[in-house]
Symmetry: C2
Subunit: 189 residues, 2 copies
């Protein structure tokens, strides 16, 4: 009987990030990641299709939460208010493990072109999810695209700011980053 | 003696886009692209490292022109005025062939995850080039990131609008898209 594995998924991500940092992404195998995490290879493959997807895992869930938050924002909300609702909803997915892993994941991504590509496509996917949800609320294509890009930027900047703190909550940092971007947008010349 | 090949590079891009449209990106080989373009495989490899790079060819040149334009904008220019200067400079790279290929390239990219990833990374690269050039002019990290993202969005939207015209000049469409984004940014709520 398989024993219950608390946090196998988290352990796999931590092990992968450690190994990518120590020996590089290209040199790291799924077998090594599973061994380091203390799980079998088939447990790895129950959670992730390959090592490349591991670092962007949760993208679909994140996209859904962003879209849900936008869809359920109060009637008459402006585009950025909708985006804020989406970001707050999506932030609930992230806990202290994500906060602590953030900087190391960014370092691993920066060191590997394969991961950079996957990460870039993830950002495009999140922006598209928000753009579609904003359009569905009747915002113009222009405003939807613009607000979605600001949302992605706010999520990245808020996440980076969160990493330097002891806080367990991502949402305030993302909301504050969005507010900064809103002010800076209004002042652009 | 090798005969002079006018526009071999352009012919290769046109041939590749045709083949990607007809039979899909995955099913298309470098040999087929070279044959369709009427050049040898070694001519292909003089221009491109592989079929995936073909559709984002010119990214480095584009990044340099964006950065040059930003660097050389008049002293005291605001961040968006710098971005506009960069976009105008980069637009000089694009001619009628680019205009006509644009929609077909977008269709090929939309149909292939490998191309989507490469295309997403290209956007990240262009944004990074603009962000760095804006920071070097003394703009804050926040403003530099924001203005660069608007620049990428303006380039994409302007390029898409240009495709529906007979105009040989991309610049006016990109400048107009940037102006639209500037107005929309100021009005975001």
């Amino acid at each position: 009987m398989a024993r219950w594995e608390p946090g196998a998924r988290d352990r796999l991500v931590v092990a992968a990030v450690d190994l990518f940092t120590e020996q590089g992404y290209d040199a790291t195998t799924v077998t090594e990641i599973a061994e380091r995490a203390g799980v079998t290879k088939s447990t790895f493959f129950r959670h992730f299709p390959d090592k490349r997807e591991l670092l962007v895992a949760g993208q679909d869930a994140l996209s859904e939460l962003l879209a849900d938050g936008i869809r359920e924002a109060p009637e008459g909300s402006g585009a950025l208010a909708c985006v804020q609702a989406g970001l707050e909803r999506a932030s609930t997915m992230m806990g202290p493990t994500n906060r602590d892993l953030g900087p190391r994941i960014r370092a691993a991504v920066a060191a590997s072109e394969a991961l950079q590509e996957r990460d870039a496509l993830k950002s495009v996917g999140l922006a598209a999810a928000m753009t579609d949800a904003l359009r569905a609320r009747g915002h113009t294509d222009l405003v939807a695209h613009l607000a979605a890009e600001l949302g992605v930027l706010a999520f990245k900047r808020g996440y980076a700011a969160w990493a330097d703190t002891e806080s367990d909550e991502l949402a305030p940092y993302v909301v504050s980053a969005l507010e900064e971007l809103r002010s800076a947008s209004a002042a652009l010349d």
